[in-house]
């Protein structure tokens, strides 16, 4: 009781004092920016040097200009909103389902063996092949996109979770067992943190797969969103306009990754992959 003063103030790890890493970020972001600039410069040069006809691959500057023009249009932002809504919903559903099933299947040897063949059968089925089914069920509405997004993203997370669950350190797990932690408690306190890095990779994979599918579904089915705009630009012969939208898609991907990284940094500060960056 005497040692109360420093300790029992807050045993919960509140992320209050995370100011130090922020100082480092600019250098890192600058490098990342340099990478992007390098890529854009290459892109600019390819048509300028005539390696590819400018008519078919417009230079980066022209595309960026078109994108900036798009930024001024409400229609553009509505499309972005629609795509992001489909992306977010699809991703959430996929992650929730995959995490749930992943932990259930992963923590039982029987279930893992029994579902293996079915999982492996279903995984390689391309979402595009499911388009007729999706449209049959939901028409050309957001639900169709959602079904395709969820289907594709689900497997990404599931597999990662299965591997993560299998990676539990046996000494840690045994420790938990001897202290009487039941199956649920072990999943929560031991298995989940171990699988978390795998899960984070899975979510990062799935986040982009979901984005790719949101766009593809809109592109192929024609449900509203950025993908349909791309299809429209394409079929309208607006080449720079199309590449501007593709650029926008890529930028969304980058933003999603930045978001994921910051979540990861918070949740995985103890993990050696994040740890090693803070020390030294």
């Amino acid at each position: 009781m005497s040692s109360d003063d420093p300790a029992s103030g807050g045993p919960a790890p509140s992320a209050g004092r995370d100011r130090r890493p922020v100082r480092r970020l600019p250098a890192k972001q600058l490098l990342g920016l340099a990478g992007i600039v390098g890529f854009l410069a290459t892109w600019e040069l390819i048509p300028r040097l005539g390696l590819i006809d400018e008519r078919y691959l417009p230079p980066a500057s022209e595309v960026i200009l078109a994108l900036v023009r798009d930024f001024g249009l409400t229609a553009f932002w509505i499309s972005v909103g629609e795509t992001m809504a489909a992306w977010f919903l699809g991703l959430i559903i996929a992650v929730a389902l995959a995490v749930l099933l992943g932990f259930v299947i992963g923590s039982s040897d029987f279930l893992r063996k029994a579902t293996n063949s079915t999982v492996e059968f279903l995984r390689p089925i391309p979402s595009v092949a499911l388009i007729p089914l999706a449209v049959l069920l939901f028409g050309v509405k957001i639900e169709s996109s959602l079904m395709l997004i969820t289907y594709a993203a689900f497997w990404q997370v599931l597999i990662q979770v299965l591997y993560g669950v299998a990676d539990v350190d046996m000494v840690a797990n045994n420790t938990a067992k001897t202290y009487g932690l039941g199956r649920m408690a072990r999943i929560r306190y031991v298995v989940f943190p171990t699988a978390l890095p795998y899960l984070m990779t899975g979510v990062r994979l799935a986040a982009t797969v979901a984005l790719v599918l949101a766009i593809t579904a809109e592109l192929v089915i024609g449900s509203p969103g950025l993908g349909r705009e791309i299809a429209l630009a394409q079929s309208g012969g607006a080449i720079s306009g199309m590449y501007a939208l593709v650029l926008a898609t890529g930028l969304i991907g980058v933003l999603i990754n930045v978001l994921m990284r910051s979540i990861e940094k918070k949740t995985l500060s103890w993990h050696s992959s994040v740890r090693s960056e803070v020390i030294v």
Binding site: G35, A129, T201, I256
Partner: protein, 257 residues
């Protein structure tokens, strides 16, 4: 006895699901959802013929080339990016950018660059398959145990030896997770690569069936994809069991409670 048990594990759930499907098609018939019997009938008719050599085999060949190349690129790139911090900072946004580009949009650009060739299709497959391997490798490389890494350092195990003896084996469980993802992605991308600028191939055939409303044929193609997926995954799991013997051994011995 053991083989029988394995067979049971492999078949039990699929059989159950097929029964369910059969039961659900008993009542109303939907044009887009064939009965199991119709599907089986079409399956043999469609795929056991010249089509196997003209469409299926070339596709599988492209798929394999694509997946193998993707794994190689992913692992090499992942090790580089994972171990060199400034490289990671430099490339990550650009890579994320490319990762977010849907393959159907990428196809026209690739056609411009490479023409309507097999290598274009392989490039499409690679463009989608590298990501799971790359990301997992990067993460695996970053997560190398500190004590182990220190040990290697002090014994002068640097450069290539470090990669070979420390980084790769230690990241291998995670790399394998990535490879497994990319196998099925490869199949998906094979289909996508054949959806555009194509005139033959497994994916093309499936899409063609779909467009011409040959629905049982289309589903039979999807079954082919699924079976291919299962076959690849079983081969992969067998390989993994060998490559990661130390890993599974370590887990299993103590798991035998």
């Amino acid at each position: 006895m053991k083989a029988l048990k394995t067979l049971g594990y492999v078949l039990a759930l699929p059989v159950l699901l097929v029964l369910l499907w059969w039961a659900s098609t008993l009542g109303a018939v939907n044009f887009f959802v064939p009965t199991p019997a119709a599907l089986v009938g079409k399956f043999g008719e469609v795929w056991f013929g010249p089509r196997f050599f003209t469409d299926v085999l070339p596709s599988i060949a492209r798929l394999l080339v694509g997946v193998v190349a993707a794994i190689a690129i992913g692992v090499v790139g992942g090790v580089l990016i994972g171990s060199v911090k400034w490289l990671r900072a430099l490339l990550e946004p650009t890579l994320e950018f490319f990762r977010a580009i849907p393959p159907p949009v990428l196809v026209p650009v690739l056609i411009l660059l490479m023409g309507i060739t097999d290598s274009m299709k392989v490039a499409v497959i690679i463009s989608g398959c590298v990501w799971p391997v790359l990301l997992n490798t990067i993460e695996g490389v970053r997560a190398v145990d500190g004590v182990l890494s220190d040990s290697a350092h002090t014994y002068g195990i640097d450069g290539w030896a470090r990669v070979r003896y420390l980084v790769l084996p230690s990241a291998s469980p995670q790399i394998m997770a990535g490879v497994r993802q990319s196998l099925s992605l490869g199949l998906i991308l094979m289909v996508i690569s054949e959806m555009f600028a194509s005139s033959s191939g497994l994916g093309f055939t499936i899409v063609q069936f779909q467009r011409s409303f040959a629905i049982p044929e289309m589903w039979s193609g999807i079954v082919v994809l699924g079976l291919l997926g299962v076959a690849m995954s079983f081969i992969f799991q067998w390989a993994e069991r060998h490559i990661l013997r130390w890993y599974h051994g370590q887990k299993e011995v103590e798991n035998a409670a």
